[in-house]
């Protein structure tokens, strides 16, 4: 059981980055459906940088920048040019998929360099690893996972305990009021869409560098979309995002686990479970939304000062 939970963390980490990225984006009032595309951009950029530099830091930086680059296209189109958010996000996904498969073509089947893999090997986090039961699950992981914990806690503090974070929440809830109170609305939107994109890129990089360290075209396999759904499940709260990510990480490895335990059923049917569960969550969260759980009130509304 302990080892299963530890694997849930590994399987959930790419989701964690993407969910938090999308939470930060949506808090600014933008529903970016390009998560899948930004994860793919991050996955290929991280992988390619790792291949060419053998430097894990460079790989992380490359992945973050690639995700943010995708988000920049989205921000220019939806914030400055007020394009339709849904279609722009979808296009970003198509574009990101194309770029990743194009750039990745010569690297198909290559493995992440040993230096980088060694850097992301599992290591105990000092005394924390000795905490009974929880220690081996949470604190005998790789550095990337620890980075995820930090991002998770940091973004929760940022959103709920800092002026900048509260301003951001205000922008998403009531853009006009935030504007009137002197907040530079567009700057907030741009910054957080870019940060969100960078986090999605990192989520993709975790997949291509650590989780499945061999380049393959469909490395993200719909996780970006699952992340978009899980934002609702996590009610736009980074700490809840952690549990959502781990739960879904668990669901995605459940099939393999059960097969290893001797249950026999089609792998393809088991593979459906995370997607079915996502649908279930989307349905359940609409029921919840009746009680006032709808996320940022001004989401998906392009803001135009003169429209007020």
């Amino acid at each position: 059981m302990q080892s299963f939970l530890a694997t849930c963390i590994v399987a959930g980490t790419p989701l964690l980055f993407a969910i938090i990225g999308e939470i930060i984006t949506e808090r600014s009032g933008s529903l970016n459906l390009g998560v899948e595309g930004m994860m793919l951009l991050g996955a290929i950029a991280g992988f390619a940088t790792a291949m060419s530099t053998q430097n894990p830091y460079a790989a992380l930086l490359g992945a973050g920048l690639a995700g943010a680059g995708g988000a920049l296209i989205y921000a220019i189109l939806t914030v400055t040019l007020r394009a339709n958010q849904t279609v722009t996000g979808l296009t970003l996904t198509i574009f990101g998929t194309g770029v990743a498969s194009f750039v990745g073509q010569p690297m198909l089947g290559s493995t992440v360099p040993a230096e980088v893999s060694a850097f992301f090997a599992k290591r105990a986090a000092g005394v924390l690893a000795d905490i009974p039961y929880v220690g081996p699950i949470l604190f005998r992981q790789d550095l990337f996972v620890y980075f995820g914990y930090i991002i998770c806690i940091f973004s929760a503090v940022y959103l709920y305990r800092t002026r900048l974070g509260l301003n951001l929440v205000a922008v998403g809830e009531n853009t006009a009021a935030a504007d009137a109170s002197g907040i530079n609305v567009n700057l907030y939107k741009y910054t957080h869409i870019l940060i969100g994109g960078a986090l999605c890129g990192l989520g993709g990089a975790y997949l291509s560098i650590v989780r499945i360290p061999i380049w393959q075209v469909d490395v993200v396999a719909g996780r970006g979309w699952i992340a978009v759904a899980l934002v609702i499940f996590a009610s736009w709260n980074p700490l809840k995002a952690f549990f959502a990510a781990m739960l879904f990480g668990g669901l995605s490895i459940l099939g393999l686990r059960l097969q290893a335990m001797g249950f026999s059923f089609s792998q393809y049917l088991v593979d459906m479970i995370p997607y079915l569960a996502t649908i279930l969550i989307v349905i359940l969260s609409t029921r919840k939304s009746g009680k006032g759980n709808l996320g940022p009130a001004n989401m998906s509304r392009p803001y135009f000062r003169e429209d007020r």
Binding site: L77, T80, T86, V87, F95, V103, Q105, Y268, I279, V282
Partner: protein, 358 residues
């Protein structure tokens, strides 16, 4: 951020509107060329090969049209849902399940069934299956207000996994000696050719007209447009919104299902899990670029089919990955999306043009 004085503009003259759109497409092609340069490719060579590869010979023209058919029908289907602002991105799954249903009929109805009967039953099964796959998110949207974007998308993965399951499991062809493939259709389950091209092209043309008439001339079609513009208005006018959502999605999914039947019957002559071949996603781009207008869909789909066919050609002829063409497709849509702004708003001072960074 550049400080701009932006105001809403009145209606733009038609001519100017087209000029802006054409300019957007031209800019997008220039920009795609810059991306290619960045990756060390010769953009002129690539664009030339895209054209040569898609319309250079009669054979290639035929291949291009064969790709335009599923794209066009799927775009028409998507356009009906999008007109209602129901974001059906489940076309990929609706195509896949439509193909599966048609295959079920083809493999079980018997080789002695007369061809017209066989094909009609296959088409009907596909339309029902695609429609049903779209009905599920529609009913949740109509009754509970469930977000359809993620719902329809997740159903894609489920449909594809399901066909994988069939292909590797219960439907595996025993004659294929363990190779995971489904049996080939018999002759009576294969769509006939008309003028050297499978009959799907006629179906596509007929549907272009049918969808156009449906949207612009019928009550139901009008209601769909009203719901898309304002649910409040529709409710105020006493329209049955649930009913409209469900009807539109049945039509949308049904058309996508039919694409599955056409692809299984005329192209694969069997069922593979990758039967939808991304047409369901590309059709979203084409439907949007055509501004959901049926006639424009036909035109845009032919251009995009050229990109797809040209992309396949450059992969073989120049050893350049075919994904170049999906980058070009994405870039075109980015620029067209951006250009909408200049149609709706006036800018007081000449802005510095912002370039997107890939």
């Amino acid at each position: 951020m550049i400080a701009l004085r932006v105001t809403k503009r009145d209606v733009m003259p038609r001519k100017k509107e087209y000029a802006v759109r054409v300019l957007a497409v031209v800019l997008s092609i220039v920009f795609a060329g810059v991306i290619m340069l960045f990756f060390g490719l010769d953009p002129f060579e690539i664009f030339k090969s895209l054209v040569v590869g898609s319309v250079g010979t009669q054979m290639r023209i035929k291949q291009t049209l064969i790709k335009a058919i599923p794209l066009c029908i799927a775009s028409l289907g998507i356009s009906v849902a999008f007109r209602m602002k129901f974001w059906n991105i489940g076309a990929e799954g609706q195509i896949t399940l439509g193909a599966a249903a048609a295959t079920f009929v083809a493999l079980n109805l018997g080789q002695t069934t007369p061809k017209p009967v066989m094909l009609l039953v296959m088409a009907m099964a596909a339309i029902v299956a695609g429609g049903l796959w779209a009905f599920i998110p529609a009913i949740f949207k109509a009754k509970l207000g469930t977000n359809e974007t993620i719902f329809t998308l997740m159903l894609n993965y489920i449909a594809i996994k399901f066909v994988m399951y069939l292909q590797y499991g219960p439907w595996i062809d025993p004659a294929a000696q363990g190779f995971p493939k489904i049996a080939m259709f018999s002759e009576n389950a294969i769509l006939p050719n008309v003028f050297g091209l499978h009959i799907g092209w006629i179906i596509a043309l007929v549907l272009v007209i049918v969808v156009h008439v449906f949207i612009s001339k019928t009550k139901k079609g009008y209601e769909i447009s009203v719901v898309g513009q304002s649910v409040e208005t529709a409710r105020y006018a006493g329209m049955n919104i649930s009913n409209i959502i469900i009807t539109a999605m049945l039509l949308s999914g049904g058309m996508c299902g039919l694409v599955g039947m056409i692809q299984a019957s005329a192209i694969e002559k069997s069922l593979v899990y990758s039967i939808a071949n991304n047409y369901g996603f590309t059709a979203i781009i084409t439907a949007w670029l055509a501004r959901l207008n049926s006639a424009a869909i036909l035109l845009v789909c032919i251009v995009f089919a050229m990109l797809i066919q040209g992309g396949a050609y450059i992969q073989i002829a120049m050893n350049v990955p075919s994904s170049v063409s999906s980058i070009v497709q994405g870039t075109i849509l980015f620029f067209v999306l951006g250009s909408e702004f200049f149609l709706q708003y006036k800018i007081g001072r000449v802005p510095q043009l912002q370039k997107e960074v890939a």
